[in-house]
Symmetry: C2
Subunit: 425 residues, 2 copies
């Protein structure tokens, strides 16, 4: 992972990485609208980004939210992924197009415009949306914005797209890698409280590697499971989450090497997202090992990393280890997961704080733990870039079996409450 | 439910209700100590409360936390509830006595003191503790406080006990009722974020009704399930939760009538607890009906009431109905609960906002919803009493089956973060 010491250095680094792989062009634009659903005369701003392949793509794959109330972009993309070819994706922020009376129809209208302007059929264009759930897309201004947007194709790079799709993100997220002759660029926006289950995560991988479509479709869910699905959570998915991979097929690659490269990029973007959680001042890493089976390990780890009391204590640099044990025991009791206090060991950083059924605490250890929490904090005044890769490490040995799981989450701060008490204004 | 318009009126009402049933005496006291685990020279204050029966009790029952890391008071009480008789309970705040190296031994020492001073054996006294998890009881100052505490027996009433056992509670919680000739007094402290799974809830019912012990033990879990287990949550239980009922047996009662009375008191205390959540400015009531089975209804309702994004929106009087649909769909997807968007109906207050798979929103409805949220808010400047019984009602019809569940939770405010970022200072 690379980290930088100023927003300018971060943006310069991203710009140096942000040329698109062969065979892709991009454009960004924006518009304003008055929402139909809200009593306001204040115009809302919306960004648009268009990624288009120069010729139809035969190799692509998608992983979509498991949310039972999926947005129209997810419903449409799931269907269009079955087709023999794709040409591009249109992305908007501000409104997520979920359960709108005209949601699917609106996508049809916009894809139709794109087909008319860029070639191909409407069904060859995907739509991805992030933002407020419940409102309808401002379809007239959006349709009117298509011709000037298409005219801009080729003028935007990956960083422009990464910036256009931000919502409450405080910095753009882009990572790129070479894989032999081939190039992979990953662009992401993330996810409110860094929980993919609570806010929309959109990820787009573009590559010019030549890949078998079936193999790519098999590979992507594996990669998502090991990366994006390990940041926080209590499950996974907002109404609109999607991870798309599109390949223009210019350079042959070894498939296993490609999977390693794509996994590394996905892991980096997942870290960027977790480091950019709304108001987050610490990243918390919970590793549960010695559980009876992997699913139980993950359930326990997520219960700890999502506990509001653990999260607020970490925010306050308060090594309140009792809350970790409380959250662990509560989850085990409720989910009927075997856990014998006498076999549990808990460490924070390098300090063992619980073993053989009892807490191991003293004044000096508490002082060291306070310092440990403080050194892992972000400076909330410098939110325009990922500042460092330090985490608050909570390590739990269950003493029950061989299984383990690691999840990443963030603390719960005043800034989070402020951001979310009226996100829509 | 009774509500009052000033702290003085609330306290006056509680005082008028607070005489103990026949056969019980109470005392309160306090002490200061320097914690062994924390680098501070600042003394911490601890309250003590003692409830003692004038003669040994043959009828009592308890419901204890399901947390797999239970505190010493829970471990000891579970064992002592098996005995033929009990004489009383000692309650402390500030430290919850969980997984301390000397936890059980410390209870033995304090019970032994009580037996020596008040009669009976050590095993006839229970201990209940609430506060910080992970620290040990300051056993020397506590043991030294027993003789003056016992001397005070008879001088404290129910309200004194209710005040002594508070931690972050902003008002004392006591409710009383007559059941024929018999009296029932319920005293409670509640539960951090109003989530019994995240902070300690202690409830003590004292009665002079004559009750069969076996029947009382069968009745209490039923009552707890319908009352305290419906406030918030994702399960239930902190390391130390307990609901105790002790009967001195002076007045015969009809058992079914007693169960109704005790249920009503428990429901009132549960409402007092939810209205007193740390920093809470709204109580949220989520009713899920039309689910396939009760457990699924409860899982969905708890997912909505515990969603940080729903909670912060309600705090901001922001009718962000999309977050409710997002939380519902996420939970259904993760827990594999069948849910067809086209069958789901969502109402907030009296406004239908989602039906037939789409949102039903307009400017006027949003205005009415904002007003609805505002009228349900508490005045955060007047936290010393339950101000009203208004709730934010979220009603979800799943359209799947006949089952339903209702849960109560609270919003997520700045005051909550402040309170919990360093609860121990």
């Amino acid at each position: 992972m690379e980290f930088f010491d100023s927003e300018a250095a971060w943006l310069e680094h991203l710009r140096s990485q942000s040329s698109l792989p062969r065979g892709f062009q991009a454009a960004v634009g924006n518009l304003t609208f008055i929402p139909a659903e809200r009593p306001t005369e204040k115009p809302y701003a919306m960004n648009l980004a268009l990624i288009r392949a120069n010729s139809p793509l035969q190799s692509f794959a998608g992983v979509f939210t498991r949310n039972r109330m999926p947005g129209a972009p997810v419903l449409v993309a799931r269907r269009r992924m079955q087709q023999p070819q794709l040409r591009g994706v249109l992305i908007n922020n501000r409104i997520s197009n979920v359960c709108s009376p005209t949601g699917v129809e609106d996508i049809g209208r916009l894809s139709g415009e794109l087909a008319r302007l860029c070639g191909g059929t409407a069904e060859e264009y995907l739509s991805a949306s992030t933002g407020i759930i419940g409102w309808s897309l401002p379809i007239e201004p959006m349709a009117a914005a298509m011709p000037p947007l298409v005219e801009q194709l080729g003028r935007a790079d990956g960083l422009d797209v990464a910036r256009a799709i931000m919502t409450t993100d405080s910095f753009p997220k882009l990572r790129a890698a070479q894989c032999g002759e081939a190039r992979i660029v990953g662009i992401a926006k993330g996810a409110g409280m860094i929980e993919p289950n609570l806010a929309t995560m959109l990820v787009f991988f573009l590559t010019d590697a030549t890949l078998d479509r079936g193999r790519l479709q098999a590979m992507l869910p594996r990669i998502v499971d090991r990366t994006f699905n390990c940041i926080s959570i209590d499950g996974d998915q907002s109404t609109s989450d999607m991870v798309l991979t599109m390949s223009s097929g210019a350079h042959p690659v070894a498939e296993d090497r490609f999977e390693l490269c794509l996994t590394a990029l996905a892991a980096q973007l997942a870290q960027d997202i977790v480091r950019n959680g709304e108001g987050a001042e610490h990243v918390i890493r919970v590793r549960v090992h010695g559980a009876a089976e992997p699913r139980e390990a993950a359930t326990l780890a997520k219960a700890v990393v999502n506990s509001p009391l653990v999260k607020t204590a970490v925010y306050g640099n308060d090594p309140n280890v009792g809350r970790v044990i409380g959250a662990l025991g509560d989850c085990a009791g409720n989910c009927d997961i075997p856990l014998d206090p006498r076999s549990v060991t808990l460490s924070i950083g390098s300090e063992q704080v619980f073993a053989d059924g009892v807490f191991r605490l003293d004044k000096e250890k508490e002082n060291r733990l306070c310092s440990y929490l403080k050194q892992a904090a972000f400076d909330p005044g410098r939110r325009g870039y990922p500042q460092h890769d330090r985490t608050v490490d909570i390590d739990i040995q269950c003493g029950t079996g061989p299984a383990e799981a690691t999840v990443y989450g963030s603390d719960l701060s005043h800034a989070y409450v402020t951001e979310n008490a009226d996100y829509r204004t």
